[in-house]
Symmetry: C2
Subunit: 302 residues, 2 copies
């Protein structure tokens, strides 16, 4: 077994873990060098600048997942079509440098679209990076059935059956929050910083969204509640966050027998855990260890 | 009866109509001077520069509606609380120059919020300008029961019973479209200009949104359908517009006996008429004549 440099190279950030031959993380690094901040053709240079010292040994292997495998990334790695198991993922690596540096493929699936419309009979969906975290989490938790939620810019809801990813759905929750926060009329009502998290306002936002029909309407309430002094400005970012997460949860369905696992940052997974509890759904949380475990498991197959 | 300068002074534009003593529009002017482009205290100057020649007579009266009556406008005009009839609106003018220049009040109403939450028991909603168009349209069409839809940056759905505005709801449809178009990841997929309207893609967007749960999910399909070459780039703006308008329509309920009237620009009211037809709801359309008729009717009460 080689020593593994595990990389999560996404749209906005680059994170790496240096793992020893037993799979333990020895060191972690994080850089503000997401693929959008890397010039065309500059991926080898950035890679060397950030992790060259770790790769400076013959027995090093680098596996990376995330948007680095997209058309705008280092090398386009083809999608695996769902349902897809761990084995299919590990077998489809896109090698940047044979035997040394590879990119994990993303997953694609299809949703029912408009049966009567030729072009839109099926609606495709895609992920890059989350699949690795999901398989890592399943392994760490010893699960073969689960609903895995990965909140973020584009949140993913992943349905796992018999150890395989059956299908998943994307929600642009984090991106909508940022758009409303920074560019909408609400940006004039909300205070500039995020300030302290207001748990009550957050839960009220979730509850209102769960009972509503559309974010198009509930989002406006962040403005009017402030206009009429029903909510103080400092509570509005938490309230809006609740509206967005509640909107994401509203249409979800659950299978009683499947565990619910949330993977992501401490702050975000806590919010989703709270929101899920408001719908009566218990969930456990995981952090970056899921992604490292997924990459380690792939390395073990080589 | 005086001669009326009717103004629709909104967030992004300033439009005026010069009406003769019989209520006929003699001339219209439009300026790129919405209230956001007017410096604090500069309203009298802009008003004079744009319409001073029309007001240069003793028998001229100016009535204006829209965001000019907001806290960021010329003079804050108080809201009338719903249910509100035409008479209440006309009686609550905010006079900028007594007997000569006045602003029509906006309307407020309340929606059911969270009964268990002290601060959010009721959710306020507001409009400025649309109330005047609604009363003008009712008058022109001889209606006393109607559902009036005013599409735009913040679309309004207005329920009229016995000639009074009972309540209304706001949807941030136009603003969400602009946010997604200009600032989201979709801005990289969509072509720069709006191009030709693609009726098929628009109707497919509406239909998909009507069958969906949330824009957070359907919006991502504009990206993946392009990624997998299911929809050509040129069709995407129309498709996205359909997704947004379908989302706005999804949760609406109708009263069989009430006429549905759409007020707004030719292009936008046509899209809403098409979308409503997909839900089996016939609707008639009106343009700026509704607003001018509303201001004229108020002038007649003075």
């Amino acid at each position: 077994m080689k020593r593994l440099l595990a990389l999560d190279w996404g749209t906005s950030s680059l994170r790496g873990a240096w793992m020893d031959t037993s799979g333990r993380v020895r060191e972690e690094r994080s850089f503000d060098r997401g693929i959008l901040k890397v010039a065309d053709g500059a991926f080898p240079l950035v890679f060397k600048a950030c992790f060259g010292d770790w790769m400076n040994t013959d027995d090093a292997l680098c596996l990376m997942s995330g948007m680095v495998g997209s058309r705008q990334g280092w090398l386009e790695a083809p999608y695996c079509a769902c349902p897809a198991g761990f084995g299919e993922l590990a077998a489809k690596l896109a090698w940047v440098e044979p035997g040394r540096v590879a990119i994990v493929p993303g997953l694609s699936c299809e949703h029912d679209g408009l049966p009567e419309a030729r072009r839109l009979r099926r609606i495709p969906d895609v992920m890059r990076g989350e699949e690795t975290q999901v398989f890592g989490a399943l392994r760490l938790l010893g699960l073969r059935e689960a609903l895995v939620v990965l909140p973020g810019t584009h949140s993913k809801w992943v349905r796992v059956q018999a150890g395989r990813i059956e299908s998943f759905s994307t929600f642009m929750t984090g991106e909508f929050f940022a758009l409303l926060r920074q560019h909408s009329i609400l940006s004039r009502t909300l205070p500039p910083g995020d300030g302290a998290f207001d748990a009550e306002a957050f839960e009220q936002g979730v509850t209102l969204a769960l009972r509503s029909n559309s974010l198009l309407q509930t989002a406006f309430s962040a403005r009017t509640l402030s206009l009429f002094d029903c909510l103080p400005g400092a509570a509005l970012p938490s309230y809006l966050s609740g509206l967005l997460i509640g909107e994401e949860l509203r249409g979800q369905t659950w299978q009683a027998k499947a565990d619910v696992v949330i993977i992501g940052s401490e702050a975000l997974t806590q919010r989703y855990q709270t929101a899920l509890a408001l719908r009566g759904v218990p969930a456990q949380r995981m952090g970056s260890e899921a992604g490292w475990a997924g990459l380690w498991a792939i390395a073990e197959t080589l």
